[in-house]
């Protein structure tokens, strides 16, 4: 997988992850080209578009398109399944995920993606494992925050 994109129906970018090097300029060009191609496609058509010698597999969930770019010889159906898997994982994490969740908690979306894909390859096929890992890391962050709060609380008290 060369990159993962998530674009809203209005063409707003909600998530970008690049596994192959693209400069900033190329990135925005790619996004522009692809949103032009994908957003205009009808609902019944197949989920693949050919683009610059690559294939882009996309799937629409409500107002949001998830796209992944792969090589010609890769398995498109598998990628479709990976997109589904990613979205299901998000759904389980946020509880009935909606576009707003992905906007306000975009960093969490990325964390989840990072547990599923590394270097453009799939790393885990069990949703449970992904959740366990994300939860463990979230609780590490929570613990650190609490600790910080108590310390700063103490300092503040001392200062007063």
């Amino acid at each position: 997988i060369h990159f993962v994109l998530s674009i809203s129906r209005q063409g707003k970018v909600r998530l970008t992850k690049w596994y192959s090097p693209y400069s900033q300029k190329e990135r925005s060009k790619v996004i522009r080209e692809l949103s032009g191609m994908i957003l205009t496609r009808g609902p019944k058509l197949c989920n693949f578009v050919e683009w610059r010698g690559f294939k882009v597999v996309y799937k629409r969930y409500a107002g949001l398109y998830f796209c992944m770019c792969i090589n010609q010889e890769d398995n498109e159906l598998e990628i479709l399944e990976i997109i589904q898997y990613f979205v299901e994982t998000l759904n389980r994490y946020f509880g009935n995920v909606c576009e707003l969740d992905l906007i306000f908690h975009f960093h969490k979306t990325y964390y989840i993606l990072d547990e599923i894909l590394i270097a453009g390859e799939l790393q885990e096929s069990s949703q449970n494992t992904v959740h366990r890992l994300i939860d463990a890391q979230d609780s590490l962050v929570e613990a650190a925050k609490e600790e910080e709060n108590t310390v700063s609380y103490i300092i503040a008290q001392v200062a007063n």
Partner: protein, 875 residues
């Protein structure tokens, strides 16, 4: 604390940005945020660093520049706590890519984190390394990653495995270090580890042949077993996707088996059973199952032959193809394309369905199907398939027509069984979609038309009809205008009527009407109008009765603002007006264009380079453009008529032209034997350059050059293929002679057998002398081979020595490159140069030539000239 620093929270900023009504408002909000973040950066504010970075990432996603935040990532990564590191690494992956130098600074932090005691921090570092590592980082950190492949927690092992993929992609020579650890990972039970290890294994196999051999021997059996277990496993809720146990793992397993089985019968044998099991047992009513079947078919197609499995695979594809789901049909077409090389017959069976797919409403499917049809076409089915495609052309989408016409034209060109069919189909395509075809298409059509001598009349009449109905298609107009210009008389006289034609009555005025309409059509572009003017000029001679009318039409363009048109119309007008006597000769029918050259040129679109002149003292005759675009025939035409002031123009032109072709074909086919393909091209050129009725045309001229001077062209070849010549002069020469044998009148006889002639001091001055040695090939008395030897009589070395010669019209001269351009003083060495002279009036006139020798002596330019007329008549 800084008063500007980050008083808003991330959530509030996102809200503020989303509340913006206009882009300008949004920019203002972002600018304000960026300003406060910059202030915080320069204050080195620690408290809100991670919040600022999160904001920056959001701003980055909106497409604003955020380079000033890059260092913040590094600071966060270097912080001790997990939350800071987590956001820091995320920022690193989002804001940077592998090409930024800042990245080098993070190597050390990464190294520390890879050795951290907290496994989640190790995980973060691995993830970042896997996603953005550069080659240097990969090299530096490979040992750490390698060690982590044996980490106690499987979640770290799987991350390390994917990270290794990135490393060996960046630095392939590190691959061997990973082979052994991967082999042990492949034995694990944990799906994540297995999944990633298989992918790493696949990548290792692609970068290293040894790794492939190793895995093939050691792991094939194990992997087959894993797949067998996966296929037969009972319901496992954790990995279940629509009733299938871990489709991802199965797909990866099938893929690695494909790599291991490809080209190896033993390994393929091992996996036959399990593949059959997958192919028959997998449910195909859900996407996950189809994904597995798709992968399985591909594996069956690429491993070593097993007839039964192939049948199974083709059946699966047939089922896919008739599926209602577009995705499934798309992948079926995709797969059939690969299957065509394995089992073309089986794919042909689905032809009807595939042709239907060309007409699908989905652009992706249409495109795939069209490519597949293109591969399916052969001599037997070309007619019905082309008909089908052309019929569809009428109703297809506008934006699909370009692709479709390109493919149709290419099919027609490649497989056309006869010329009349070719012309008919192409006319049909042009009529339907003449505005979508590329220029090469109608250029090619014209070449074919000129070659189909017996169809000229038929073609021009068909075009006349076509332009009445499809006058809005630019390409139709151009071809029609060209043909009416050339063959207008055949149009009017109904010459060369074929049985199937319906007679039509066209008057001379009708024909001129067509051209007039075309030149006046407001959509006609410059080149169409220019073509119209030429056609008019030609018609003015063919139809004398319309001459005045044509002159009036031509005159209308005199005021054109386009220089090209204005110039043409003024010049043509004066030809019509003042040069009646010249006109008919001037506008003779175009000579037949050479198909082989045309296609050769088109195949290698490189410009013809004159690098083959090899330091010859050769100058192009005056006024002849040396552009590659100039038609071959023009060049030859000129060179044949030229009185050869600069010697050797004919053969050298030939050489140049051939040189161009050789270069292009050689670079095109990527062959390492350019000389070989070069001779092939020559053969093509010469053999096809002998059309039947060719009196007085310039093609005949060029042909006669090469026929008369069989040796001349051989020598041209020799000098072209110099790498070959240096090694085996004789054999190569005779090989080429063999090639040329087909048309050359002279047999290939070793030249030693020729009679001996006395040598001759051709030229002598105070400073140098020139001696000619003669030899002749038996059987071609008109050709004389001269070896010129120059000797320096002065006490100074001569530099930049150049010898030039000119001959009268009845002679043709070819100069080969000289042996050097420095002539040592006082006869301490010599320069030799070979000349070949063809005497068209052999026996009547003797060879004479004017020579000019220029050189530098003591850095002074010297020039010596003279005439050689003492050559005996029998030479």
């Amino acid at each position: 604390m800084n008063p500007f620093s980050s008083e808003t929270r991330l959530r509030d900023m996102i809200r503020a940005i989303r509340a913006c009504k206009t882009a300008a408002e949004e920019r203002a909000v972002v600018r304000k945020e960026c300003a406060s973040i910059r202030a915080a950066v320069s204050d080195n504010d620690n408290d809100y660093r991670h919040r600022n970075l999160a904001k920056l990432m959001f701003i980055h996603m909106l497409g604003y520049p955020t380079h000033f935040g890059q260092m913040e990532c590094l600071k966060l990564i270097a912080a001790p706590g997990f939350p800071e590191k987590r956001i820091g690494y995320l920022g690193l992956m989002l804001l940077l890519d592998e090409r930024q130098e800042v990245l080098m600074l993070v190597t050390n932090s990464l190294k520390q984190d890879l050795n951290h005691t907290n496994q989640y921090i190790v995980g973060l570092a691995l993830c970042a390394l896997g996603n953005i590592s550069s080659a240097e980082m990969a090299r530096d950190l490979a040992p750490e990653v390698e060690r982590l492949l044996q980490f106690r927690d499987p979640n770290v092992r799987k991350k390390a495995a994917l990270c290794s993929i990135r490393i060996i992609k960046k630095v392939p020579d590190l691959a061997e270090n990973f082979v052994n650890p991967v082999a042990s990972l492949l034995k694990e039970k944990h799906h994540g580890v297995l999944l990633t290890a298989i992918q790493l294994c696949a990548d290792l196999c692609t970068v290293s042949e040894e790794a492939l051999e190793y895995f093939r021997k050691k792991c094939t059996e194990g992997l087959v077993k894993v797949l067998k277990d996966a296929v037969n496993s009972p319901y496992a809720p954790e990995y279940d996707i629509s009733g299938i146990a871990d489709p991802f793992l199965q797909i990866k397993l099938l893929r690695i088996l494909r790599i291991l089985g490809h080209g190896d019968a033993d390994a393929s044998d091992l996996m036959n059973d399990v593949l059959a099991q997958v192919a028959t047992k997998t449910e195909s009513n859900k996407n996950a199952g189809n994904a597995i079947l798709y992968e399985c078919v591909e594996t069956i197609m690429s491993i070593e032959d097993s007839g039964g499995l192939r049948v199974l695979a083709i059946n699966i594809l047939g089922r896919f193809l008739s599926n209602r789901d577009n995705n499934i049909r798309y992948v079926a077409l995709n797969m059939l394309m690969r299957a065509i090389s394995v089992d073309g017959q089986a794919v042909q069976r689905h032809r009807a369905t595939i042709v239907e797919c060309v007409k699908d409403s989905d652009a992706s499917i249409r495109k795939r199907a069209l490519e597949l049809v293109y591969l399916l076409v052969n001599e037997t089915n070309v007619k019905p398939l082309t008909k089908e495609l052309i019929d569809y052309l009428e109703v297809s989408d506008q934006d699909f027509k370009g692709d479709l016409t390109a493919k149709i034209c290419s099919i027609v060109e490649k497989l056309s069984p006869e010329k009349i069919w070719y012309i008919d189909r192409m006319l049909k395509v042009l009529c339907e979609a003449g505005n979508y075809v590329k220029d090469e298409v109608w250029h090619g059509l014209i070449v074919v038309i000129t070659n189909a001598t017996n169809l000229h009349g038929y073609t021009v009449r068909s075009l006349y009809r076509a332009i009445q109905t499809s006058g809005d298609q630019e390409a139709v107009v151009r071809v029609a205008v060209w043909c009416i210009g050339e063959y207008g008389d055949l149009l009017v006289n109904n010459t060369g009527m074929l049985d199937l034609e319906e007679p039509i009555t066209v008057t001379e005025n009708d024909a001129v009407d067509v051209i007039e309409a075309a030149i006046k059509r407001h959509t006609s572009d410059l080149s169409t109008r220019a073509m119209c003017l030429i056609a008019l000029l030609k018609l003015s001679s063919r139809f004398p009765s319309c001459s005045q009318r044509i002159k009036d039409i031509v005159n209308q363009s005199k005021g054109s603002l386009l220089l090209e048109l204005q110039q043409r119309s003024i010049e043509f007008d004066s030809i019509i007006e003042k040069h009646q006597n010249l006109r008919s000769a001037l506008v003779e029918r175009m000579p037949v264009l050479d198909e082989a050259t045309y296609s050769g040129r088109r195949a290698g679109s490189l410009p013809a380079v004159d690098s083959t002149s090899q330091g010859n003292p050769l100058q192009m005759p005056n006024g002849i453009p040396k552009t590659a675009a100039a038609p071959l025939l023009d060049l030859l035409d000129l060179s044949a008529d030229e009185p050869a002031p600069q010697s050797s123009s004919g053969p050298n032109f030939l050489q140049d032209l051939l040189g161009g072709d050789i270069l292009s074909t050689a670079s095109q086919s990527g062959t390492t034997h350019p000389q070989k393909s070069g001779t092939d091209v020559l053969l093509d050129l010469l053999s096809t350059g002998s059309p039947p009725a060719q009196n007085g045309s310039s093609t005949a001229d060029i042909l006669s050059i090469s026929q008369d001077n069989n040796k001349t062209s051989v020598s041209a070849l020799n000098s072209l293929s110099s790498p070959m010549v240096t090694s085996t002069q004789n054999s190569s020469a005779s090989a080429i002679m063999d090639l040329l044998d087909g048309f050359g009148p002279s047999p290939a006889v070793p030249k030693d057998n020729g009679p001996a002639y006395p040598s001759l001091v051709a030229f002598e001055s105070n400073s140098l002398s020139l001696v000619f040695n003669f030899s002749k090939q038996p059987g071609s008395p008109q050709i004389t081979e001269i070896e010129a030897t120059f000797t320096n009589k002065s006490s100074d070395n001569y530099k930049d020595f150049i010898f030039q010669a000119a001959v009268p019209k009845f002679l043709q001269l070819h100069l080969e490159p000289a042996s050097g351009n420095t002539l040592p003083a006082s006869g301490n060495g010599s320069i030799t140069q070979k000349l070949r002279v063809t005497n068209n009036q052999h026996g009547k006139k003797s060879i004479i030539m004017r020579i000019r020798i220029s050189y530098k002596s003591n850095n002074k330019d010297m020039l010596e000239e003279g005439q050689i007329s003492n050559i005996p008549r029998d030479l």
